[in-house]
């Protein structure tokens, strides 16, 4: 099995945090075992995307530096699984 490393960066700006971002910090508990040691989760400060794209795309995350708007734990996991 090839070891791939993925980095999930969760936007911790206030707007993202209150609009669902806080929940995303629980992602470790939901990762399937096969992904546990391949994924790095970190918080980052506001990406500034909220001002550019209007108000309704929160919360944002960066997965391997790709932006994902309206992120949810399931969406993130699915995205990573599709990368493999």
């Amino acid at each position: 099995m090839t070891k791939t490393n993925h980095t999930i960066k969760i936007c911790c700006g206030t707007m993202c945090y209150i609009m669902g971002g806080a929940e995303l910090h629980l992602i470790r508990e939901h990762l399937p075992e096969s992904l546990q040691d391949q994924v790095k989760v970190e918080g980052i400060s506001c990406l500034g995307l909220c001002e550019k794209e209007g108000d309704s795309q929160h919360p944002y995350v960066l997965i391997n530096n790709e932006v994902m708007p309206k992120a949810s734990i399931q969406k993130i996991i699915q995205y990573i699984q599709n990368l493999k």
Binding site: C12, T14, I18, G20, A22, L26, D55, S56
Partner: protein, 482 residues
């Protein structure tokens, strides 16, 4: 616990929008556009049509402006009128929950339904055992007559195919004191003679139909329009809501424009001292036990539902009361704003008039978002006061007990019992205490499972809230050593 859902997000988005408009002084001009902007025609509607969705948004805004939905006299009254008058509105009943009847989907009247697993068997034990003769069989399938059914559930137990399903009404099921039920139109109604403001119905309703009446506009105006002297008193649970050190949270709150920010933990230290003394006195007088009094939903429960327990409830004022008194002592004539994840605190403040307004943790987050304040970028505030780590610990279940223990000369022999969360089951237990005293002489009662940190208007999921609160407590322990 509350599972994160879209109804929560709608409420927060509304709060942010209202506050942004008010900040830019364009609330009256633009508030009536919010329903159109949030529910545009292009989206597929959540309910029957976009117009219904917009009506729901309108009434949710009305609640956030501090109104009861039943205050509506004329359906054509625009939100701008309510917004204009909201600042002069005086809360009269002290009822801080309101049902948005448009949003209430009028869940099932009868909790039992026959699913397509029904085999139309020969035994028909559902029909035979129904005490109200409510079940009939057509075309080989059982049917329940809603006029006759009394929700006893015998048919469900009797069916060998498990073909009869229980359909809950989430708000009614979550209410520990049976204070919410349907009116003749099938819409839920809250009986405020019974309601203890625990907020469980609000978080349980998947349609977001039960709304708290917010005071955000009054708070905004006290600070920025009326330029009153304002003091924020911050509950320890708030320190668990953002993933940063507590000094940064306190600094961010100050940045909202408050003249001063204090921690309710200061008052919690006084509560712990007084409550310990009171407990020792009561024990010396030969009392069997004493319960805590800092949870306002619990004291309202004792007042309204378990009168026999009242003599055993501590008379020590809550940390909010001590802190508010201290705020007025230090700052003179000022508006005191309590910040915490609790709904029942609004009711407590209404009753004892110690805090002028209550802001929930969700509302605090919305204030930060509307003001563009990023908690992570704030420079940590220096604490100008001393609080014990145990005082911050009040926010998690078991925290009050730990604080009392820390006051005692012989903590090892102290025995306590924790009622972690008010539910129908724990109410039954509490009702037995006056007759059969609990085994421990000190009982801590928290309406929310896990404590304030898991309050109905919290921002962070409980596990994160707990972990961050622990850090906030640890910050103080290490300081004390240095």
């Amino acid at each position: 616990m509350t599972y994160y859902n879209n109804a929560i997000i709608t409420k927060r988005e509304l709060l942010v929008r209202i506050l942004k408009l008010q900040k830019n002084n364009s609330l009256l001009e633009k508030i009536d556009r919010i329903p159109l902007e949030m529910r545009p025609r292009t989206n597929s509607p959540i309910r029957c049509c976009v117009h219904k969705d917009r009506a729901v948004i309108k009434y949710k805004i009305m609640a956030l402006l501090g109104y009861n939905i039943s205050d509506e006299q004329d359906e054509l009254t625009p939100l701008s009128t309510y917004a204009k008058e909201s600042l002069n509105r005086k809360e009269e009943g002290g009822h801080y929950l309101t049902v948005v009847d448009e949003a209430c989907s009028s869940c099932v009247q009868v909790n039992y339904t026959v699913s397509n697993l029904c085999q139309g068997c020969e035994g028909r034990s559902c029909q035979v055992n129904c005490p109200k003769d409510a079940i009939s069989v057509f075309n080989g399938k059982a049917n329940i007559d809603h006029q006759k059914c009394v929700n006893c559930g015998l048919c469900q137990k009797a069916c060998p195919f498990h073909a009869i399903a229980y359909l809950p009404v989430p708000c009614e099921e979550s209410c520990p004191v049976k204070a919410i039920r349907k009116n003749e139109n099938g819409v839920e109604e809250i009986d405020f003679d019974k309601c203890i403001h625990c907020g469980k119905c609000m978080t349980a309703c998947p349609f977001g139909a039960i709304n708290e009446k917010s005071q955000v506009l009054q708070i905004h105006d006290a600070i920025h329009v009326l330029k009153q002297k304002t003091v924020a008193i911050v509950a320890p649970a708030v320190l668990g809501q953002f993933k940063v050190p507590s000094g940064q949270i306190l600094a961010a709150i100050k940045a909202l424009g408050f003249d001063a920010v204090m921690e309710v933990a200061e008052g919690a230290d006084l509560t712990a001292q007084h409550e310990t003394a009171e407990w020792q006195e009561k024990m010396a007088e030969g009392a069997n036990f004493m319960t805590t009094s800092c949870c306002p939903a619990y004291t309202e429960l004792a007042d309204k539902h378990i009168k026999g327990l009242k003599p055993y409830v501590s008379h020590t004022p809550s940390p909010m009361v001590f802190t508010a008194d201290k705020a007025r002592e230090l700052h003179g004539d000022c508006k005191v704003i309590f910040i915490g994840p609790c709904l029942a605190k609004r009711k407590e403040a209404y009753n004892n008039k110690k805090a002028d307004f209550v802001m929930t943790a969700e509302e605090l987050g919305s204030f930060f978002a509307a003001y563009g304040i990023d908690v992570a970028n704030e420079k940590s505030a220096q604490l100008s006061y001393v609080v014990s780590p145990e005082a911050r610990g009040f926010a998690a279940s078991g925290g009050v007990t730990d604080a009392i223990k820390a006051q005692l000369a012989d903590p090892e022999s102290f025995k306590s019992f924790l009622v972690d969360g008010i539910s129908r089951k724990t109410i039954k237990l509490l009702k037995t205490f006056p007759i059969r005293p609990p085994k421990a002489p000190f009982v801590e009662v928290m309406a929310c499972e896990g404590g304030c940190i898991n309050g109905p208007s919290a921002l962070a999921p409980p596990s994160i809230g707990n972990a961050t609160l622990k850090k906030a407590v640890a910050e103080l322990s290490t300081q004390a050593i240095v």
